[in-house]
Symmetry: C2
Subunit: 163 residues, 2 copies
DNA sequence: CGCACTGACTGGCATGATGCAAGTGACTGA
DNA sequence: TCAGTCACTTGCATCATGCCAGTCAGTGCG
């Protein structure tokens, strides 16, 4: 059954997931961030050949990876992250942080280092007004503004799932 | 074909994706963050009933949502984020930020406000040593340390995909 | 009272996604 | 020459998904 597309949804979160939300896709991005370039490099994650082939094609088509020839007899290509692809770094990092905190198992995760000083960087919310870091618990999520006001549901708040 | 599980992988990113990486799951988390509570609330995203039912059950089982009765004739339940679930906020936000920058379409995204001062917060990398925000471009990703050193591949760097 | 509607699911079925594993072609090295 | 490597491609079986009807309990209206 073809999955319902999120591409035409008005929410950018959904649109991102439409592009990178398939099984294995973000693991490929992770591996590309870590330095994987060739088909054989990416294969080491355990992904099936045909799925890897399809995902690489998708990531190239979406401009997240670019395909570059590294030899011509036979023609061989490697896959490099674009700027667009590199901008998925915060997604990867936040997934890793959640997994570190809430899943069990060995901790074998990429490290993210500030190039200038070689210190490991962390990601956090920041408030420009207060000038300080903010914990997720200190954040109130406000739903998207809708042209038609959401129908009040008595006693359960104004909950509307966004298409 | 049953998907290959990422649960036993040594990478926390993979383990997170094993839990929340199915189609629709993170959109449900998004909606829960925005205030959706009931089956009907979540359904508004366009998800099929049986998939929603299965995803809610998974999120409850994984401790991301808790199921709470809101009436008993007939028995009816609503679904609320746990702390574990709320900690997926950075994942949702980073997905939204990427989508804002790199996808086209209307911008109808949740807003994330600092409770104390009602300012919209943003997420960013931070370097403790330099005491400043760091752009993704200023970050070097280092692959996970491996007990067996990666085999050098001449001319292509030391690329190893992590299981 | 009967009927229509609502909400929260459950279930049947057809189609696409996935994984396994074999195959292909070009090349290299012993 | 043969075996191995690399980068895919392909065939097939099994699961994931979506559509939509159905069920049950309750409510409200004519």
């Amino acid at each position: 059954m073809r999955r319902k597309s999120f591409a035409d949804m008005s929410c950018p979160i959904a649109r991102t997931l439409d592009i990178v939300g398939e099984w294995w896709t973000l693991l490929i991005v992770r591996d590309a961030l870590v330095g994987a370039r060739r088909f054989d490099d990416f294969r080491k994650s355990g992904i099936a050949d045909n799925i890897l082939s399809a995902r690489l094609e998708l990531l190239v088509r979406e401009g997240i990876l670019e395909r570059r020839a590294y030899q011509d007899r036979p023609p061989r290509h490697e896959y490099l992250l674009t700027d667009k692809g590199h901008d998925l770094l915060p997604v990867i990092v936040s997934l890793g942080m959640w997994g570190l905190k809430w899943t069990d198992g060995p901790v074998r995760t990429p490290r993210f280092l500030h190039i200038r000083c070689d210190t490991e960087v962390s990601t956090a919310f920041h408030c420009q007004t207060c000038g300080e870091a903010v914990q997720p618990r200190e954040i109130r999520v406000e739903r998207p503004t809708a042209p038609s006001a959401a129908v009040n549901r008595v006693g359960s708040g104004q909950a509307v799932a966004a298409p």
